[in-house]
Assembly symmetry: C2
Homo-oligomer: 155 residues x 2
Amino acid sequence: MTENKLTHKAIQDLYSDDLAHCFGCGKNNKEGHQLKTYLIENETIAHFTPDAKYTAIPGSVYGGLIASLLDCHGTGSAAAFYCQHENILLENPLPVRCVTASLKVDFKTATPMGTKLELKGKLQKIDGRKIWVDMTLSADGIVCVTAEILAIKLK
Amino acid sequence: MTENKLTHKAIQDLYSDDLAHCFGCGKNNKEGHQLKTYLIENETIAHFTPDAKYTAIPGSVYGGLIASLLDCHGTGSAAAFYCQHENILLENPLPVRCVTASLKVDFKTATPMGTKLELKGKLQKIDGRKIWVDMTLSADGIVCVTAEILAIKLK
């Protein structure tokens, strides 16, 4: 299915309206981050430029924001990979929505403020409704953070 | 040192002014969450009531916010436990400030909106500048989330 290998719609924008209020990525949460995750071939990608208020130690991005972005990129990636795996079309409303069971975030080096961050995701494995995704967060081409999520597909 | 066993000041309010801008817990970040962690005997505690916008699936608290709170409670707890371990007085400005190397968050059940959340922390171990803290996040007496942080004391 070509549509699943290169979609121009963000996964989160395909979530059904009643499940699209997430502060991190819901299209129906006007006060939230509205993170957008795209599936391109076998990888997911998202970009985000933090506002100045999301500081940790001055000059570095707040780790809590980073964990938040990875949480939403992770559940979005899990939904995308599950659809790809099960040959489910990426269309609105998406019949697949995932939640986080476990998130591990490893901060390798400080993430600098004032630059666009790039999040990537790759499928690790799928077992029933459990989906594991490996992620990175980079700034200026340098991987600052790695992460792993175990997401569960809602029934 | 009695002062270290029951302090009425939040750990984050003792951070030196130049290191107190964190979005999650910095007293100098007026737009942030301003989480406050207290050391009571051998345990740390913090409370936080999420605003309605911090929704995930409607009715549940956004996992990204939960990770954020645990990140700040974790680094604050690590600083407090390090001081307790090294007999450093909990006073302003605190000579100890920790950052996150790794954070693992396990979501056991959905965290309900509209209620005060309680975060607790216990020291797991200290090895040089590395401090491991185990944490829980509860709502209405039920542990919804468990977490582990590896924090590093800044030089």
